[in-house]
């Protein structure tokens, strides 16, 4: 919506249907190229396993969860880590080209800087921990798993939405 004070450099977001069709085609390309879908939390997993192997090789190899993952070498440089590097490049390009790049602590004005930092950290922790239980996050299970018509993906999305709605009424995150 254009107001007299709006910045003409800031281009509007794509309409949801357009963004959805393009995202669907990107996801289809990903399946055809790699044999699996898009993801995100897997890159955090590979980072933890890879850095763990560098800093504390014995503890990482002995860890029940990370040990089997580092048995065949360092997971840094996996498809998923490159994909997340790509996400960073793509988002940066999109934000710059549309005049939407702005350095800010988003949520500072609404909940205060200290509260926002604590909530972002706590929210990230919950999401990172939860993604390891489900074996993926909104991208890997919710989006890609649903496109592959996986049963667990729809269970994930249902609980994701219901819990998010309840928690957002109890805690003002942003």
């Amino acid at each position: 919506m254009d107001t007299p004070t709006s910045n003409p450099r800031i281009k509007p977001f794509w309409p949801p249907f357009v963004a959805g069709v393009v995202l669907g085609l990107v996801l289809l390309l990903t399946f055809v190229l790699s044999g699996h879908g898009l993801g995100a939390s897997g890159a955090a997993n590979d980072l933890v396993a890879g850095v763990g192997l560098q800093l504390a090789p014995e503890a990482t190899r002995a860890n029940g969860y990370l040990g089997p993952q580092v048995a065949d070498g360092n997971p840094l440089g996996s498809w998923m880590t490159w994909e997340i590097v790509g996400v960073a490049i793509g988002a940066l390009a999109g934000a710059f080209m549309a005049g939407r790049f702005r350095v800010q602590l988003d949520g500072e004005r609404s909940v205060g800087a200290g509260s926002r930092v604590i909530k972002a950290l706590a929210g990230g922790f919950l999401a990172g921990f939860g993604a390891r239980i489900a074996g993926g996050c909104t991208s890997g299970i919710g989006l890609s798993g649903s496109a592959a018509l996986g049963v667990s993906a729809f269970v994930f999305l249902a609980l994701f939405f219901v819990t998010g709605m309840i928690v957002s009424r109890l805690v003002k995150g942003v």
Partner: protein
């Protein structure tokens, strides 16, 4: 015949760049826009996700029917339904509290958001925490509620792919219809202008 099973650097970078570009263009680098889905003011998250799911599912089905995609050749998450429920609830709670999910936090960070960097640190800490606390409890939780018959609706419940896709198309139309109705009542979707300005006390 597809898939090519190319898991190299170029394949990862290419898919990632396109994914990141679409996420940012849809507005999913903004925690204001993202969390407005849970307040029912902005339905872009569900509209975009459901559209993408239908497009990709139809594409995969057409490729399989056309003989271009090997049957049972693409990854499907294992049908551990309790694990998916608990994990989905935690990711949803984290999304509501922190304003992002793991993928969108990367889009947020690279559109300039420092709070997204904090969220990324949280995701990495949560992942490391899972590894530290990994024992018999978390191990059994990860495979809890597993359906033995298979991971897809076709294998687990004998609902064929075209029927599932038809159900998803109906759900997609429903999401657009219901979503737009809520958006009109609750002050419309979050614009790019509002998102770039950042959260304000009234949002």
């Amino acid at each position: 015949m597809f898939p090519l099973n190319d898991n190299g650097m170029i394949s990862g970078l290419l898919c990632g760049i396109l994914f990141g570009y679409v996420l940012e263009s849809a507005g999913f680098g903004s925690p204001v826009k993202l969390s407005a889905q849970f307040r029912l003011r902005d339905w872009a998250v569900f509209k975009v996700m459901f559209t993408a799911i239908v497009v990709a599912a139809v594409g995969l089905w057409l490729l399989r029917v056309g003989g271009l995609l090997k049957p049972d050749s693409i990854a499907v998450p294992q049908a551990a339904l309790v694990a998916a429920a608990v994990g989905g609830a935690l990711v949803g709670a984290g999304f509501a509290v922190g304003g992002y999910c793991p993928g969108t936090s990367v889009a947020g960070l690279f559109s300039g958001r420092i709070d997204a960097l904090v969220f990324v640190v949280g995701v990495i800490t949560g992942t490391a925490g899972f590894a530290v606390f990994y024992g018999t409890t978390l191990k059994s939780l990860k495979s809890a509620g597993l359906i033995a018959e298979g991971d897809t609706f076709a294998d687990a419940y004998e609902i064929s792919d075209p029927v599932m896709i038809a159900i998803l198309v109906v759900a997609l139309i429903g999401v657009f219809f219901v979503g737009s109705w809520f958006e009109r009542r609750k002050g419309g979707p979050v614009t790019a202008q509002e998102a770039v300005e950042g959260a304000c006390p009234t949002t």
